[in-house]
């Protein structure tokens, strides 16, 4: 091929690429939501004199242009491919993969955040929980098992728990770190697998001086693609969600205080929604109540929790007639008294280490 032909090809092809892409950008209908990133995508900004000349029309247009680019998901996968396989980088947008397990880097340790978490717990104890047996536990995130062993930056968990325990008074701490390993977590998600935490549940039960020894039937929903599947943009293997049922869970009723709806413990309709993990107790909600008519006792339990608590709580339907789950990421602590009667119930604070390291999310 001579140079003239080369020049003509370059000009022709790039004209086609840029003008063709422009046309595709214009005619492509806007997408509202990104399944992989689990967020709403930016839409075309409002065109008005105010917006254009005084507002942020152009910066919003830039966000729109990126979010609505044609074949966005495919390009994200290409970027992940280049990051891992061409430039041999160890993470893509802080997500890394060891074998089948994906995780998001969490570091450095924010000691002040851990201390603030203990202060928030103590505040709740002082305000609402006089007369209650109060227990506390911390769930290690996946980085506890993956980071240090594989040379990834991570939090000093020993230091975190030392700070946590040294600053928390008046509660009984139940250590569950040694009841878990990486296989107890979903490979493509941040959460633990409900079917694999029986040892953890037993440790909690022993610490809380209760008996939990029911049998469960395993029910499988697949394929499950967790939050890291989309964020990593890598072709990870599909996962499955196993949820456990027995007479206690099947007879229990869940009340979602935000929607006012009465639901089963496992809302399997949510498996095909934005976050399949929401099958557990209808997902992340500020106040959830589980009424368990067949429970062995008429005692009540309050769980201050994050999303890990959603798959843990069904285990307690065997023992507690009423379980109230409170997520102070979504409701101010001072408002809880307007919705919940605190009257000497057993109380369990259970958060994962990422929440402790970012406790500003607790209100």
């Amino acid at each position: 091929m001579n140079s003239n032909i080369k020049h003509k090809i370059i000009v022709a092809v790039f004209s086609l690429i840029f003008i063709g892409a422009f046309i595709c950008c214009i005619i492509k209908p806007a997408t509202e939501y990104s399944e992989s990133e689990r967020r709403k995508l930016n839409q075309f900004p409002e065109v008005s004199f105010e917006n254009v000349f005084k507002g942020d029309f152009f910066s919003k247009f830039s966000d729109y242009a990126v979010d609505q680019f044609p074949l966005r998901e495919q390009f994200r996968k290409i970027k992940a491919f280049f990051t891992y396989n061409v430039f041999m980088q160890k993470d893509n947008n802080d997500i890394y993969v060891i074998g089948d397990q994906a995780s998001k880097m969490e570091f450095p340790l924010r000691e002040n955040s851990v201390i603030e978490a203990t202060e928030k717990i103590e505040y709740l104890c002082n305000k609402y929980l006089n007369g209650s047996k109060v227990y506390c536990s911390v769930i290690p995130d996946k980085n506890y098992f993956l980071a240090a062993e594989n040379g990834y930056p991570g939090v000093d968990y020993d230091k975190m728990m030392s700070v946590f325990n040294n600053n928390l008074e008046g509660v009984t701490y139940i250590d569950i770190f040694n009841t878990l390993d990486i296989d107890d977590y979903y490979p493509t998600d941040t959460h633990w697998d409900q079917a694999n935490i029986k040892d953890t549940v037993n440790a909690l039960a022993n610490g809380m001086e209760i008996q939990l020894n029911a049998d469960y039937k395993e029910n499988v929903l697949e394929p499950f693609f967790g939050v890291y599947y989309g964020q990593s943009a890598l072709p990870l293997k599909a996962d499955k969600i196993t949820y456990l049922t027995n007479e206690y869970t099947e007879s229990a009723t869940v009340i979602n205080y935000e929607t006012g709806k009465y639901l089963p413990v496992y809302n399997t309709d949510k498996f095909t929604a934005k976050d399949p993990y929401d099958i557990f107790l209808d997902g992340a909600v500020s106040i959830i109540e589980i009424i368990s008519p067949k429970a062995k006792t008429d005692k009540e339990l309050i769980i201050f929790r994050d999303s890990f608590g959603s798959s843990l709580a069904p285990y307690f339907t065997e023992y507690y007639s009423k379980i109230t789950l409170l997520d102070t990421r979504y409701i101010q602590s001072d408002l809880l008294g307007d919705y919940v009667e605190f009257s000497g119930q057993d109380v369990l604070f259970i958060y994962n280490t990422s929440v402790l390291n970012n406790s500003n999310m607790l209100k």
């Binding site: 091929m1 001579n2 140079s3 003239n4 032909i5 080369k6 020049h7 003509k8 090809i9 370059i10 000009v11 092809v13 790039f14 004209s15 690429i17 840029f18 003008i19 892409a21 422009f22 950008c25 000349f53 005084k54 152009f58 247009f61 830039s62 242009a65 990126v66 680019f69 966005r72 390009f75 994200r76 290409i78 970027k79 992940a80 280049f82 061409v86 430039f87 041999m88 980088q89 160890k90 993470d91 947008n93 570091f107 450095p108 240090a148 040379g151 990834y152 930056p153 943009a233």
Partner: protein, 458 residues
């Protein structure tokens, strides 16, 4: 709007290309002007007025300088033009810095609202300044067509990040440029190469520098990784942008001067500054250094001239003591080289230059003087930091290939290897490589949120 963005590549540029090539030659400058003004307005709604004022000032003063040539009025209009341009630059760039330092030095409490720095002001004021000076010197005729002059000043390929284009370099091209398929193709090639340097290398290294800043667990090794990475990052960022500017200029029929020439192969700081940001260095040489007398004067004045130029060079880069120190640091090194450093073996001089430049960029990138000292100290183990740690080794492993690619890319090796490929083969490979590069570039832009341009602060 930055060149390395979805909105520029796939919205703005296609529209400009379609309009530009659809209109006859006599309207092309008008199209460039309108689209350039929109380009500027996109990122700078309020201060577009300043750029328009600079254009009008240059136009009017240029005509008046020429009309009254040979009289004192001609000089007066030159001084007026300099005062307007320099005044704008000094006020918007240095007023807050000046007030803060006066308050510290004199213990007073002068208050001044935080003045935002208009994008590209350091570039377009230097262009309009050079225009009126060149008219005064008789090097160029005053431009009678305000559209053409405005198109020159506002030309979006070089408006916000250079190269600093002298009017004398493109005076003829404004009216008489030719646009050929070869030129457009060469422009596309240059643009894509620049885009690759920016998106695939510079952005990754910039992320590493950001990670370094935000990590409390530092080590001596991490300081050195940061220093080397930033030196490479700023080179690929700025030279990548210059490549894009030159490439775009060529697509529209303009030939801009080269702005970088593999500065990291230099064997002296003197040579480094002949290869780094060439358009700025030559501007200061022609408009400050030589008019002051250059080296053709007494030794004391020559020393003065060098220090003035390097003080201004530092200040041009930013209103901060670290920039002043950075500029004077190079001034001092240049003086040392001219006075004392002769007949040094190449390898030693090369290592000295790399060391000196890396240290200089550590100073350059520090947000304040305290960080300058802690960063320099960190390079040599101050503060009882470990030699290395887990975080450092992780990021070294993670970015090793990017850093190696950047080091190789900062030398002429790739270009020399490419030149050795037989023409028939390269004629086939080149389009494939260029088209291939567009895919990862687009992928990184779609997925990335980290895409700043360093020289935006200018």
């Amino acid at each position: 709007m930055v060149f390395s963005s979805i909105e520029f590549l796939f919205y703005f540029l296609p529209i400009v290309i379609i309009l530009y090539f659809a209109v006859p030659m006599k309207l092309k400058n008008f199209i460039l002007l309108i689209t350039s003004l929109f380009f500027y307005f996109y990122g700078e709604k309020v201060y577009i007025i300043l750029m328009l004022a600079a254009i009008v000032s240059a136009y009017v003063n240029g005509l008046l300088i020429e009309k009254f040539r040979g009289t004192k009025l001609s000089k007066l209009f030159l001084i007026l033009s300099i005062a307007i341009n320099a005044g704008m630059l000094v006020f918007f760039k240095y007023a807050n810095f000046t007030v803060d330092n006066l308050n510290s030095l004199l213990g007073v409490n002068i208050t001044l609202a935080n003045i935002a720095l208009p994008i590209g002001i350091s570039f377009y004021t230097f262009q309009t300044l050079s225009y009126t000076v060149d008219v005064y010197r008789g090097d160029v005729k005053a431009q009678r067509n305000i559209i053409d002059l405005a198109a020159y000043v506002a030309l979006f390929p070089q408006l916000i990040a250079g190269p600093i284009v002298r009017y004398s370099d493109i005076d003829n091209q404004l009216q008489h440029r030719t646009i050929t398929v070869k030129k457009v193709s060469d422009g596309i090639r240059r643009f894509i190469i620049g885009l690759s340097k920016k998106v695939l290398i510079a952005n990754a290294l910039g992320q590493l520098c950001d990670i370094f800043r935000n990590t409390p667990e530092k080590s001596v090794l991490f300081f050195w990784i940061y220093a080397i990475s930033f030196s490479l990052h700023i080179y690929f960022d700025f030279s990548g942008y210059s490549d894009m500017a030159i490439g775009l200029g060529r697509i529209f029929g303009f030939e801009f001067m080269e702005n970088f020439n593999y500065p990291y192969i230099s064997k002296s700081v003197t040579e480094f500054w002949r290869r780094w940001h060439i358009s700025l260095g030559t501007w200061f040489r022609d408009y400050i250094y030589i008019p002051l007398g250059g080296s053709r004067t007494t030794k004391i004045k020559w020393l003065r001239n060098i220090l003035i130029v390097w003080l201004f060079t530092g200040l041009w880069h930013g209103a901060g003591w670290n920039f002043i120190i950075w500029g004077l640091y190079f001034g001092a090194l240049l003086l040392l080289e001219k006075l004392f450093m002769k007949n040094i073996p190449d390898i030693i001089s090369h290592i000295y230059v790399l060391f000196a430049v890396i240290i200089s960029f550590v100073i350059f990138n520090a947000p304040d003087m305290k960080t300058v000292l802690s960063d320099i100290g960190g390079l040599f183990g101050a503060g009882n930091i470990p030699i290395s740690n887990t975080v450092t080794l992780y990021y070294l492993r993670s970015y090793a290939l990017v850093i190696i690619a950047a080091i190789i890319g900062a030398t002429p090796l790739v270009k020399n290897l490419a030149n050795k490929i037989p023409e028939k083969v390269s004629n086939i490979l080149e389009p494939i490589v260029l088209i291939g590069l567009i895919v990862p570039i687009t992928a990184y832009l779609v997925d990335g949120s980290f895409n700043p341009f360093l020289y935006f602060r200018f």
